[in-house]
Symmetry: none
Subunit: 526 residues, 2 copies
């Protein structure tokens, strides 16, 4: 059995500690008192197991409780994982989540950043030093004014410019226009140079516009996007980062209540570092210590560590300390965070001089001075990137036309023999993937199957459904004792988990379209 | 100008209070120091306005700061409203949101509960008393065991049974099967009676399955659903409640960090009461005082008040106190909450006797005794509801066979004229919905379109894609200057947001299949 291992720091007396740990193990799993759990199987398979309860060396009246939760309680989705880790107990007191280890099976559900530290370095051609980042603000400035700021920052040698997280537009067209102006500004600033500046607009649009907005960014050649995981929901962020090849930057807005009480909540290193990285954020913004927020130097170091440390095959994520940073503090920050960090400097940069280009240059030179080994190489070109790394396929953006040819073939598509599968025998079936597996953005796949005379498909079942549309010859759709003849243009629908099979008992090929959900489960034996 | 008015309780010295209030007004809007705001328009249109700062009468060193934010800073979506109200300042200390007033323009974006208190009373036929609710648990029990519990609770006179929020299934079919069993159990318990019990399964499924799961519930005649707004994201919840006619019950999992420090966070009355109601939850669960959680009696009363008080045309929502409630406490709770509450009793009911039906009966009688005026009338029948209110068709759980007929018609399906739309003109187009709108569980819809000679479809674009497969005649697919002839069995793919149109310039009908995502955006003018 696999386990999710959570470590909680409890503030209580030594007497209470084991009882509180056991209470958490019950509350987060079965949510009934121990005496109501009547079966040993339930106790073994479901109830969390307290592995240890030990006093904290450095804090009086605090204890570390390590609890193993059966991994399948976390389900197949991020919301449920957090429901398990910190759902009901968020409503208690004096229970803080301080460490989280996922088993390999669960960890594999989280792909992490697409670009991460190495990928963003390639996009920028920057090696061996932290990135200089800023925010376009204030809200209320005209798009032209924001574009001027972006241009000046880029011209001054800034690496990464994001929208302020309060920059929100009244409608999609205003968003498009503003983004267009700012992206053009950073591009224009580098024409003929060997440098690049990435721009990350604030993807704060109504839920129904999210995909449209992200798609627009990818198509326009914008490289980044800013999002708020605590407001959008973890799974929505995970879906966005997995779908759109952008450098995703997470903003900590609305997260602060999880952190401010050292005796309750979740360590910021877990939520802002480890977790935002797992759900695919390439950079994570957090309030730098010594600024106008409350994080300590140790908390900031822990966040940076969680964002960057080795974690299976999950790429490292940029820690992006922000807030209250000044020119004078750059050497201290360089020493604290090292080269793999993004220094997000807003007010200090805007306030440092009336000329943003000059003040950016001054900050950039100071960073370079702290990292004498750093160097600039050619940034990866955008078109190069599209071809090599961006999985949004070329074909997806273009009109496709598959001309039909004699013999039930289509231009640009070829038939393959139906994939053999030891446990599910079939005979003389060929498959042509028409739509859905060639980069099209569809929730479904359209395939053409042809079964030769005497042939048949596997007898199988699955949760996804089949829509079968006859095109040539005559076949038989057989399901749970019902038999339906499929002639050209006849349509059959196979409901979830209905055992089914297609036969060709005629003497010419039986050809049909089969349409299925793009994301679907594997067929099973009946 | 419209304003969102937020009241924060600050803990600080009398000297600091005005400065802290002004700091919040800047931080949440422009996020730059005051001296960097150079234009008076910006100051007027964007920066929050501190309306007053007054000492709290009942708490030393605390002040109430009332701030007006220009309403358009909240954008058109819920995430942005919370970014404005409590985004960055969540990362500070000693700032608690204690009151929230939305202007009418913004308030109108939130439709609130579809059923609410009055609607659920009609579904149950229960008047003048609180509802008795319970949770199916523990996780790990077999679906049959859970269905037995549901049946016993219903037979004993329980009103509302929800899944435990940890009941999560490994796949969609297991979810379906479990829900099917429990729903059948509550239905069977009331055959021939004048009562009803509502069942609310835990809608904790992967994001990609949410719609499929909610649709299944509606089709199956399930009346409720349990969701976790703090995990799913506010806008996802708002979309679900607006789309699916279910009694939506909000669970407070993962919300606790906002509440536990009286000097920081958000009053639970605002988040669990006022807000969950605004985004469409018909019931809101919260930890009852005196149980195993930390809410005080005053906080519980405030939540109940925020959930039920008049709020424009937003229907009242059921306060559902839960946790640690006992038979002995029923009179006290009846006095505290009155008739319009849902008493969610889990462990105490399961533990009260080995026979859940008998203990439910005992609790139900005790509630009735506290409300002698209460009465049972005939619950609104499900079919009545389906016909009048539920927009979704009956389920296609069976094999379907649509035999093709002369003239490009299919058994069981009829053609309709293409829906007129003033802004998107078209000519002589007929549509036959083949698959996807008749209860099939597919991620896509299959439609047959026929364009008469000289006809054409609308010139339009949308984020969803089209797959067009020619069946009869010859037509032209026109997209952004590219023209492709569609003959029988030719396939065309229209990528996202490509402006497109189909024409028939021949002299016989042009017929084609058009396959689209089941969940899709509305077409827009080019």
């Amino acid at each position: 059995m696999d386990f999710v291992t959570a470590t909680y720091r409890l503030r209580c007396s030594a007497d209470e500690a084991p009882r509180l740990a056991q209470h958490i193990a019950l509350e987060q799993t079965v949510e009934v008192p121990e005496e109501l759990i009547d079966s040993p199987e339930l106790r073994d398979a479901v109830v969390g197991r307290v592995r240890s309860v030990t006093p904290c060396a450095d804090r009086a009246e605090t204890f570390l409780a390590v609890i193993d939760y059966p991994a399948d309680l976390a389900g197949a989705h991020a919301s449920q994982l957090w429901n398990l880790l910190y759902g009901n107990i968020s409503l208690k007191r004096h229970v803080r989540l301080v460490d989280l280890v996922l088993p390999a099976t669960l960890h594999a559900q989280y792909r992490g950043p697409r670009f991460g530290i190495a990928g963003v370095r390639k996009l920028l051609g920057v090696e061996g030093r932290p990135l200089l980042a800023t925010a376009l603000k204030p809200r209320g400035s005209s798009p032209e004014r924001l574009a001027e700021l972006a241009a000046a920052f880029a011209a001054g040698g800034g690496d990464f410019v994001k929208d302020d997280h309060n920059l929100v537009d009244p409608d999609f067209e205003t968003f498009r226009r503003r983004v267009e102006l700012c992206q053009s500004a950073v591009e224009t600033a580098h024409v003929g140079s060997d440098r690049s500046t990435l721009y990350a607009p604030n993807l704060s649009v109504p839920l129904a516009d999210l995909d449209r907005a992200a798609e627009f960014l990818v198509r326009r050649g914008v490289r980044g996007a800013l999002i708020a995981p605590m407001l959008l929901g973890f799974e929505t962020v995970q879906r966005l980062t997995a779908t759109y090849p952008l450098v995703w930057m997470a903003h900590p807005t609305f997260s602060g209540c999880y952190f401010h009480d050292p005796d309750h909540g979740v360590d910021p290193a877990i939520l802002l570092g480890q977790w935002f990285r797992l759900i695919g954020c390439d950079a994570t913004i957090f309030p730098n210590h010594g600024g106008r927020f409350t994080f300590t130097a140790a908390e900031c170091a822990d966040i940076a560590n969680a964002a960057r440390r080795p974690d299976g095959d999950v790429a490292p994520c940029w820690p992006a300390p922000a807030g209250g940073m000044s020119f004078e503090r750059l050497p201290e920050m360089a020493a604290a965070y090292g080269a793999d960090a993004m220094f997000l400097i807003g007010g200090a940069l805007l306030g440092a001089s009336t000329n943003l280009q000059i003040s950016t240059q001054r900050f950039a030179e100071q960073i370079a001075a702290c990292f004498p080994q750093s160097r600039q190489v050619a940034p990866m070109a955008n078109d190069h990137l599209s071809a090599c790394e961006m999985p949004l396929p070329q074909s997806a953006a273009a009109l496709e036309h598959l001309a039909f040819q004699a013999g039930f073939r289509w231009d640009g598509r070829s038939a393959v023999a139906y994939k053999p599968n030891g446990s599910l025998p079939f005979k003389d079936v060929a498959r042509t993937e028409l739509i859905g597996r060639h980069g099209e953005q569809t929730a479904f796949d359209v395939r053409y199957f042809e079964i030769a005379p005497g042939g048949y498909s596997s007898l199988e079942k699955h949760a996804h459904t089949h829509v079968v549309i006859g095109l040539r010859g005559t076949g038989m759709l057989d399901s749970r004792g019902e038999q339906r003849t499929i002639r050209p243009f006849d349509i059959g629908y196979v409901p979830p988990l209905a055992v089914h099979q297609l036969h060709n008992r005629g003497d010419e090929p039986f050809g049909f379209l089969c349409i299925v959900d793009h994301n679907r489960d594997r067929p099973q034996a009946p």
